[in-house]
């Protein structure tokens, strides 16, 4: 009979998705963006608004950052800047301009609306926990307000009656980024409390003072973002007051690294877990060499600030850009950051 073969409609997939798709690291590609706005917030802070060139959304969570890849004098300079816009809004990052910063100088003097460059990310886990809907208590010092304002505006937009207390630490009012925006929030949300501390008036707050200012409810989630010493003091004060340390979230806060000279000779890197040897080409980092070879390596900010690409060097020598987020304990245990280090001899990596 004509057409008598049984009709196959759906193709069998007995083993589910093919293994080939998971052999390589899923890497979110850098996205081209255009500058849509540059707004001065204080004399040394500017908000950079961007839009993806391809017209697709750039979804991010409040508290995350983007790594911005600027082309400065023919070389790529990467900087991780936190998003200061609320979740769902057009992405904007607020940047503290440093007097001697290469990227700061570029942003302040050359970057203009309409310019294009690439961003990586978003990344970072300094984010709201949807399972926790209790009070929020936040401490932000200097440009640490950048991810914090995104957290606050997002939390209040989602739940306008949520109790949110913010303590900021700045030299004076003129240096307090988003001071007016935060005051406007207090007018709009009765449950939002804003407590600015100006060190020019009161001096630096000590551990006990910070803990007293924060005074979190036992059910609160605490977010700290600022210089390391201030966050350490705040955490110590809270612990001393019996607060549950598991409820404290800290954002790492690292200045831009100075690039070390890269080796001019290729070096072999043996990735022990994947049992692959990859030759690091001159100019490459350990991460770049591994990614080029299609290895699965964790990373996020790519500028030594987040610690996602931390790997243990089993054998051999590396050169690491400084400063970075590695702790002294991690260094002495043999860890390095794959995104910011390169092999200067043949090495074996536990990755």
């Amino acid at each position: 009979m004509l057409g008598s073969r049984s009709r196959r409609i759906i193709l069998p997939r007995p083993d589910g998705p093919a293994r080939r798709w998971s052999l390589h690291a899923p890497v979110a590609p850098p996205r081209w963006v255009r500058v849509t706005g540059l707004q001065r917030e204080t004399e040394d802070a500017v908000t950079l608004s961007i839009a993806p060139e391809d017209g697709r959304a750039l979804p991010y969570k409040a508290g995350q950052y983007l790594t911005h890849c600027f082309e400065i004098d023919g070389a790529e300079e990467r900087r991780a800047y936190s998003l200061s816009s609320a979740e769902g809004g057009a992405p904007a990052c607020t940047i503290k301009l440093l007097p001697d910063g290469r990227a700061s100088h570029y942003i302040a003097t050359q970057l203009k609306v309409g310019d294009r460059y690439r961003v990586i990310g978003p990344g970072g886990d300094f984010t709201l926990d949807p399972a926790q809907q209790g009070p929020l208590v936040l401490l932000a010092a200097g440009s640490g307000i950048t991810p914090v304002i995104s957290l606050i505006e997002t939390a209040l937009a989602q739940q306008p009656t949520r109790a949110v207390r913010l303590v900021t630490v700045n030299r004076d009012r003129a240096h307090a980024i988003f001071h007016e925006r935060l005051e406007a929030l207090t007018a709009r949300y009765a449950s939002f409390e804003y407590a600015p501390v100006f060190t020019a008036d009161t001096g630096r707050p000590d551990t006990a003072t910070i803990a007293a200012l924060l005074r979190p409810d036992a059910q609160a989630q605490v977010y700290l973002c600022g210089p390391q010493a201030l966050m350490d003091a705040a955490e110590a004060g809270l612990r001393a007051a019996g607060f549950d340390a598991a409820r404290i979230h800290r954002e790492r806060f690292v200045a831009a690294p100075r690039h070390q000279p890269r080796p001019t000779e290729p070096q072999d890197i043996f990735f022990r877990r994947s049992e692959r040897t990859v030759t690091q080409q001159p100019g490459e980092t350990i991460l770049e060499a591994g990614m080029r070879a299609g290895l699965r390596l964790d990373f996020s900010c790519t500028v030594g600030g987040c610690g996602h690409c931390k790997v243990k060097i089993v054998d051999g020598a590396v050169r690491l850009d400084e400063p970075n987020c590695l702790t002294p304990e991690e260094r002495s245990a043999g860890y390095t950051l794959a995104c910011s280090a390169c092999a200067t001899t043949p090495i074996t990596v536990d990755a």
């Binding site: 004509l2 057409g3 073969r5 049984s6 196959r8 409609i9 997939r13 798709w21």
Partner: protein, 402 residues
């Protein structure tokens, strides 16, 4: 048709479907009555529609009957093709790196539906007595998306082999350079459609019989220019129509970006096809050979217009509840089909005209089929990839009246 209706009336639905399907298959190849064309397509039609060769087994062998053109002197140039080659090399994208495969494709999120609910022919189905609840509608729309993307994938597999054959057969060295990039393009398209289906939709449909007929026909035809015409003009035109329709409909960002990349490549492929064929048809072919190509193109155009009717979906969802004939009527009247036909012929007709396959004689046939409104449009040499995307985005398919 009234006779057919009378004949089918009262028979069990399975028998109705068999008779309707067989008579329908016999209509293939007979629109212009060119016996040579019918004879050249007959083996593929027989394998695809009658034997159902692609309906079982792991693979099917399609014997290639073409000759590789091995150049001994490397003489002769085709600068426009070389220019296309350079552009193709410069614009290669990476299906792994340049698409965000970490995207969570949620088949139930109304804001990111792969196939929004506006477009499946729910009203046409309701008019035939098939009413689906909200959950079924969502599942049906997702199945239509999987079916459509599965056919894209099967088409890309055919395109990969056809591009390789065409690269062997083409006589210009610049065409061989270019052809190699197209082989890479088609391989990448196959990769990304397969990956999307395999990891995101997780449901893959078998190749449609009628699509298989076209692929079988052009892969087994020994004449390089027919392969070229079939692949670079007809199937690429079909692809632009189908990809463009999906690109316009879908709200799922990963698929939208994937389709955008693929469409940009297709723009080059068609451009290459028209360059090669215009040169060949206008300078090398006899009037009778031109007539034969015209008729073949017309048959394939009708096949593409009238016969991609998602029968696999019918058999999965409605066999026993609706006749195949009623299903065909519903699908032919669906807004998504009208968008697909518009975008396909918008590009196809001007290209056929440009390469010299639109004589007054064949125009009369296109006129009967209502396709001459596209004459005089921009052909592939006048369109950039951005123009294509803009035209596709500008076309809004008519929504069903509510």
């Amino acid at each position: 048709m009234a006779t057919l209706d009378r004949m089918l009336n009262g028979l069990p639905q399975k028998a109705q479907n068999t008779i309707y399907g067989t008579l329908d298959n016999l209509k293939v190849m007979s629109s212009v009555g060119n016996l040579k064309v019918a004879a050249s397509m007959a083996p593929s039609v027989f394998r695809g529609l009658v034997l159902g060769t692609a309906r079982e087994g792991d693979a099917v062998a399609l014997p290639g009957n073409h000759a590789a053109h091995f150049s001994l002197t490397y003489q002769g140039e085709f600068p426009e093709m070389y220019d296309l080659y350079r552009r193709a090399v410069a614009n290669q994208w990476n299906g792994d790196r340049d698409l965000d495969w970490a995207t969570d494709v949620d088949l139930e999120n109304p804001n990111t539906l792969v196939m929004p609910l506006d477009y499946p022919p729910f009203e046409g189905l309701a008019a035939k007595g098939i009413k689906l609840n909200d959950k079924e509608k969502l599942r049906f729309a997702n199945d239509i998306a999987s079916w459509t993307l599965s056919q894209f994938m099967h088409g890309e597999q055919g395109a990969l082999y056809a591009a390789a054959q065409v690269t062997e057969s083409v006589q210009w060295m610049d065409g061989k350079f270019y052809g190699a990039t197209q082989v890479m393009d088609e391989g990448r398209h196959l990769e990304v459609f397969l990956r999307y289906l395999d990891t995101k939709l997780q449901k893959v449909y078998a190749v449609n019989d009628n699509l298989f007929v076209i692929l079988d026909d052009l892969l087994t035809d020994s004449r390089w220019d027919v392969k070229f015409l079939g692949m670079q003009i007809m199937v690429e035109g079909l692809a632009l129509g189908a990809f463009g329709t999906m690109y316009n409909f879908t709200k799922e960002p990963l698929l939208k970006q994937l389709l955008k990349y693929v469409i940009q490549d297709e723009a080059r492929h068609v451009h290459y096809g028209v360059l090669a064929l215009r040169e060949h048809i206008t300078k090398e072919l006899s009037p009778s050979e031109i007539r034969e190509r015209e008729d073949w193109a017309y048959e394939v155009a009708l096949l593409m217009r009238n016969r991609f009717l998602s029968h696999e979906i019918y058999y999965e969802w409605f066999e026993g509840r609706l006749s195949l004939k009623d299903w065909d009527e519903v699908i032919l009247g669906a807004p998504s089909m009208s968008a697909f036909r518009h975008l396909m012929f918008l590009r196809l007709i001007p290209n056929l005209e440009y390469i010299g396959l639109m004589s007054d004689r064949i125009k009369a046939h296109y006129e009967k089929s209502g396709l001459t409104s596209f004459l005089g449009g921009k052909n592939a040499t006048q369109l950039s990839a951005d123009d294509l995307i803009r035209d596709i985005s500008a076309y809004k398919a008519p929504l069903p009246a509510h």
